[in-house]
Symmetry: C2
Subunit: 490 residues, 2 copies
Amino acid sequence: MDTPSFRAMGHRMVDLIADYWDDVESMPVLSKVAPGDILAALPASAPRCGEFDPAHPDAFWNALAADIDRVIMPGLTHWHHPRFFAYFSANISGPSVLADMLCAGLGVQGMLWATSPACTELEQRMLDWLGEAIGLPEQFLFRAGAGGGGVIAGTASESTLVSMLAARARAHAASPAAELVAYASDQAHSSVVKAAMIAGIASSASDTMHVRRIAVDAQCRLRVDELERAMQADLAAGRLPFFIAATVGTTGVTAVDPVRDVCLAGARLPVRPWVHVDAAHSGAACVCPEMRWMLDGVDLVDSFCFNPHKWLLVNFDCGCLWVADRRPLLDALSITPEYLRNAASDSGSVVDYRDWQVPLGRRFRSLKLWFVMRAYGLDGLRAYVREHLRLAELLESLIRSDDRFEVVSPRTVNLVVFRLRGGGDVANRAMMDAVNASGRAYLTHTTLPATHPVAPGAVVLRAAVSGALTREPHVRDLWETLRSHATLRA
Amino acid sequence: MDTPSFRAMGHRMVDLIADYWDDVESMPVLSKVAPGDILAALPASAPRCGEFDPAHPDAFWNALAADIDRVIMPGLTHWHHPRFFAYFSANISGPSVLADMLCAGLGVQGMLWATSPACTELEQRMLDWLGEAIGLPEQFLFRAGAGGGGVIAGTASESTLVSMLAARARAHAASPAAELVAYASDQAHSSVVKAAMIAGIASSASDTMHVRRIAVDAQCRLRVDELERAMQADLAAGRLPFFIAATVGTTGVTAVDPVRDVCLAGARLPVRPWVHVDAAHSGAACVCPEMRWMLDGVDLVDSFCFNPHKWLLVNFDCGCLWVADRRPLLDALSITPEYLRNAASDSGSVVDYRDWQVPLGRRFRSLKLWFVMRAYGLDGLRAYVREHLRLAELLESLIRSDDRFEVVSPRTVNLVVFRLRGGGDVANRAMMDAVNASGRAYLTHTTLPATHPVAPGAVVLRAAVSGALTREPHVRDLWETLRSHATLRA
């Protein structure tokens, strides 16, 4: 495609995107297509002749735009919809999309410093900016020069995996034959178990001998007494506790594990296990100083991750991982074959990010952090987060005002966890399914732990208030939708 | 950022990208900055106040554009430069950038079918289109309904890792306690060793007991007799051969391993090892029927990957992995916690791609394959590849015409491997460094295996002719640059 055609079509794509953002509120949040509908709308094979003809660029654009409308749009669940309250958000923003465009247009690879120095050094600086912005201690920043630093790791699953690999490298350097055990609360993200499966530490998802799922307290926080008991039992049985994942904002109810006590428990063992903090969603709130209570103890941890692509206006993927000491990470992931050697890398004077991750190639993702932090500034990001916190508080108070409902878990950040009091799991699932099928809002559920004081083992609903377009009327609309469905069922 | 401002800035970003493509040829290919230069040009901390003001959107654009020019551009090694001949290419194209824009603008997540059905089903269909386009047997396509299918896996490193994990799951299902051994030629990509380290199968990069690096023949192809010998020795010692990586187009010299014979050797063992084909770069050439000799035997393999983001006009990241049987992959990677369950997934009627990969979240990357295959058509992609093959042949003939140079490895696709005859490794490295430092072209080197018949253990230069903007004058220019540096040194 020639550049004049790209220019013309690019302008139209920008307008298509802007139109989508302007219109998305009018669409059903959750796609209504049935399995196979999209497949059936697409030809079985690739076209033999290209559809783009530089003499008639409009024809290709028109064909594409029509198919986006006909095939793609009905098949989308709109994550950018202002009434999307499911899972955790995957924020997008204008500055971030501009950065993604530039990343695509430059098309450089950042696997080594030399393959595009700006890609590596902007990333180093942005991880310092962001680490400082959320209040991480200095040892996690490159500027401290103490061996720590950060990397864009894609997703929190990848951050957890590479942290576990670094932990294994450190543990095996001291005890090569040790049988390793990892620990996380029974509310921790599935990626902890998945990482252990990938690493060969757990033989399957149900290998609770090698990934101990620790019971939680009444607020769904990891119980440190249970953690200590489990670690001591493993030590007594000749196994080595090597990795603890503490969660700051669990997926189910945004519970915040007691990071400091977890670290202190680890430090009392003969060999200190690696402590990794998974703050994938909730870490974003720490741009606000008043939310940094969640980070108490983070000065003692080995690694910390959170995803600006969830709740900080940066497009997916942009998960950030910081380590206090990069050496175990490099021990776990560095392989330097001949065809990747060059003078700058050999001298050790630069960072080669391929050794901080599973893949070799990498995009210029730090542009997104640069554009977003510059566009909004820290004050802008704080105002953004605080407004969602206010709206979550509002939703909570609306739910509390209607005694057919109950809030079942204390709100720590922007997630409200609630249920219908009557009718049990069946009624709550039915209400959720009805709300989602209406297209008016999208919610997901979780199941509380069996030890939960209010609703043990119950199916409860989650509303995460973190959409970039979500404003007070959307939260009030969600509440009206919930109320009307509760009335229908009464 | 409000949509009118995004619209205005988006148009300007499209123009910035198009201007970059028009101008890139005038820039030095390899960045000339020194370590730390970019870091020093960036403030130490994020700004407190946002720079974007909807009342003056131009001011933010002007500041950004000036910094892109001042800070970023000098720090780029230009992968889209028409005289970039290093590594393998990372192609970009107009249709692919348009698709990446749409992907960013929609911002949907494809972790589950339900989280955006179009994201999953378009990917399924595109992997069928592309698999058929390169001549993969029917069992790798979803449409065959036989349990096979494809996935966008990011990079070939990730494809190799998840294939190895699936292989382990299959091997351990039969022999839970078996000590596993993987095999690849000593010319295979470092990602095989890295995958084994991640999986905990190899204890380090030098653990040759668990990743056997098999010697190659005079053309750098895996020697099947050596593979059989190694597998038999491991079996005799009580270890289980579980995974063989065959390379179609090695990184060093694009050697093509004898896939059929590798598979037959595996099939003669008591337990058949998983055979994975890594065609990361060269697989793209198989859009041309005359290049499909490289795939002989692929009907017998378990998994196959190639990266359209290298040489097929699709932006990074878009690495494609196909498996003949998805079940071992799901056994290795599937974990289904409560908060990810939904009716469509539970019924088994849909594909949930989170179970085909390491991360949970995923972007709508199949849009890139859709736009590119539609824009160019199979005929257009074939013409694109054939022109690079012609230019590589031309470069090879130019090198052969000057007896100060020699072509040291038979050309299989678009990579020419050569050296200066006199002066040995020192002279060849010096010439490469001089060419690269000139900014006129960018080449990388490799070291031939110690068993190589022409130049055992020698440092040799590689020129990969696969840039989207690379035309005959650029190849002739590379040759003149090389010649003039050889003359300077004579």
